[in-house]
């Protein structure tokens, strides 16, 4: 499967599962929900064949807590779901962030609120980037716009999770998950068996060279000042993530208007920008690849250079708040919303982009 240079023609969901396997994922805990079912189905066969553990949990809540347990042992583990399922996982995600447990979580975003639909949506942007559960915490949030990027980001997510001792969220949607396109797999990663050796739970030897005190992984800090100290530590970690902010830019140098869009919408918007460029319109695109940390410096730089902005989202306007905060000293951002439940094409974006370009 992975490991050779042949190209594979797979769904985005399968690309995520393959990326996880190649990254050394050893445990997967899932629950059925559309449109992500290909991921647990793939793992139930190929992860088990590779000697790993697959559990179809009794609930999304349980799956996320199994992830917590495996992560606390320093083992590479993953869960995947879609929006209503992510709501249920937030309890364990908050605990994992609070007790600094690494894990990879996939959300193939579907329409909401409530049961919504099973089509694509970006309605979980706030939930993903603001923490989602209770308390002050953040996740590293990666937003793929193709099957290849879904594979690569999942592959890298495990390293990021262990380097930062934090859950990493892959935020895709029904388009990314269900679309089939070619990917080039990477060489499978040889995971260091000592990974997490200075914090993971593996049993505390009472004698010999490995003798140590017993370890406790927890998020409860009752003593005076202790929780404040933990929160300061977490905030410092999130601050240090800022250097990880990443984005794709396209035709921005001489652009008067920069479209900001992520994930599948970023890809559709790129086609709209390409089509408008062919018509001589000075428009460009910035596509955040990390939603947290947000590529605020790249946006600020463009704003400082005098660009104007149009944020396009598959929701009612969420990421636009981060765009506006990023450019606030020099510019504002207009907003074009595709309501979840509708499937946009590049043509749908041309008129709003031209309207924004024409307004000075």
């Amino acid at each position: 499967m992975a490991g050779n240079k042949e190209r594979l023609f797979v769904k985005g969901n399968e690309a995520i599962a393959m990326g996880a396997l190649a990254a050394g994922c050893r445990c997967f805990f899932g629950y059925p929900i559309t449109p992500q079912n290909d991921i647990p189905e793939f793992m139930s066969k190929y992860l088990v064949e590779a000697g790993g553990q697959f559990v179809q949990a009794e609930s999304e809540v349980a799956a996320a807590n199994m992830l917590l347990g495996a992560g606390a042992c320093g083992v590479r583990a993953m869960t995947s779901s879609s929006s209503p399922g992510l709501s249920l996982k937030q309890e364990a995600i908050s605990y994992m962030a609070g007790s600094e447990i690494p894990a990879v979580i996939v959300n193939m975003n579907r329409g909401g609120p409530g049961l919504g639909d099973i089509g694509p949506s970006q309605g979980d942007y706030f939930q993903s980037t603001r923490g989602g559960g209770h308390g002050d915490y953040r996740l590293l949030v990666l937003a793929p716009s193709s099957a290849q990027e879904a594979y690569d980001m999942t592959f890298d997510a495990f390293d990021l999770a262990f380097a930062s001792r934090n859950p990493v969220l892959i935020l895709g949607d029904a388009i990314i998950g269900q679309m089939k396109e070619p990917i080039t797999p990477r060489e499978p990663k040889a995971v260091d068996p000592a990974e997490g050796g200075d914090w993971r739970l593996i049993g505390a030897p009472k004698s010999g060279p490995d003798k140590r005190e017993h370890r406790i992984i927890k998020s409860l800090f009752l003593n005076d000042g202790e929780l404040a100290g933990q929160n300061m530590k977490l905030q410092a970690k999130y601050e240090a993530w800022k250097k990880l902010a990443a984005c794709e830019t396209f035709e921005v140098n001489d652009a008067e208007l920069v479209v900001v869009a992520y994930g599948s919408i970023g890809r559709i918007a790129k086609n709209a920008v390409r089509n408008l460029r062919a018509k001589g319109k000075k428009v460009g695109l910035l596509r955040p690849k990390t939603l947290y940390p947000f590529p605020e410096k790249a946006l600020e730089k463009l704003a400082k250079a005098g660009k104007r902005f149009l944020t396009i989202e598959h929701n009612l306007g969420q990421m636009v708040e981060d765009v506006r905060l990023s450019v606030r000293h020099y510019a504002d951002s207009e907003l074009f919303c595709v309501y979840p439940g509708n499937m946009p094409s590049p043509d749908d974006f041309e008129a709003p982009i031209l309207r924004a370009l024409g307004r000075k």
Partner: protein
């Protein structure tokens, strides 16, 4: 008294009662007369006697016993309210060679965590569960639990639990015993020396079915909460004997070793 706890002091005297090595030498935060201290000690004695302390990962729950990890000298992880069996599933699947147990109260296990305990047992997860049933939410100040007895007054059923209004107290050992993955299931009590000795035997069996790979081990321990029962410790022990044991009968509810079906519980079994 187990032989493991008999040792010789520097003075040459034979010590017949010492702290188990697996029990951390620090005062507990538990109230006078609370049975958590006894249950913790039994856990620690068994970890000593089975020689598994260095190989153990403890999963603490929410409630008074969240601080289990401060008292048991093993690696430990905290879990959200009711989720300990799911967390323990993740731990055991990630580290199948470790001895993994949860320690949960009745609000945690029998109310908010009902789905997790039922399914962990049904899957036959190779973990052991110590279930403390004291018929009340302790840490939060004595609210009604799923195990609160009919007529028992709590801060959220001040007129006493009423069958028509709040339903019947849940008998967990009886429920767990009927699930396919349960290898051992029993209910003991911590109200008397005799019952404590018997409870430890049950706990040993609940631990050993995990160690032998037979399946899920469960032991329910009827325990006192004098503070929230508004009783003296002695009166609390009497309440267990007079009111709890008649409703929550003691004994073994499933034992695949005794009934000879343990062969079907292991991989490749009949």
């Amino acid at each position: 008294m187990s032989k493991a706890n008999t040792t010789v002091a520097p003075s040459g005297e034979e010590l017949v009662f010492t702290r188990p090595a697996s029990l951390v030498d620090r005062p507990t935060h538990y109230c006078p007369g609370c049975h958590h201290g006894i249950a913790h000690r039994l856990v620690a004695e068994l970890l000593d006697e089975m020689g598994v302390i260095e190989n153990t990962i403890a999963v603490a729950s929410i409630g008074c016993s969240v601080f289990l990890y401060n008292y048991i000298d093993a690696d430990g992880v905290e879990s959200p309210h009711g989720r300990a069996p799911a967390v323990a599933t993740g731990v055991k699947r990630a580290r199948p060679d470790k001895f993994v147990f949860t320690y949960q109260g009745d609000g945690d296990l029998a109310s908010i965590g009902m789905a997790e305990i039922i399914h962990a047992a049904n899957r036959g997860e190779r973990i052991s569960v110590v279930f403390i049933n004291n018929t009340v939410y302790g840490m939060t100040g004595g609210q009604m639990a799923p195990t609160t007895l009919i007529g028992q007054k709590t801060t959220t059923c001040p007129a006493g639990r009423c069958l028509e209004r709040e339903g019947a107290p849940i008998r967990m050992a009886e429920i767990i015993a009927h699930l396919g993955g349960t290898a051992f299931c029993a209910r003991g009590s911590l109200d008397s020396v005799k019952n404590i000795r018997q409870a430890k035997k049950y706990m040993r069996q609940a631990f050993e079915v995990q160690a032998k790979g037979f399946g899920f081990g469960f032991v329910e321990l009827l325990s006192g909460c004098p503070t929230n029962w508004r009783m003296t410790p002695v009166a609390a022990n009497k309440r267990i004997a007079d009111e709890m044991i008649p409703y929550f009968p003691l004994g073994v509810y499933r034992d695949v070793v005794a009934d000879g079906t343990c062969g079907s519980m292991v991989a490749g079994g009949e």
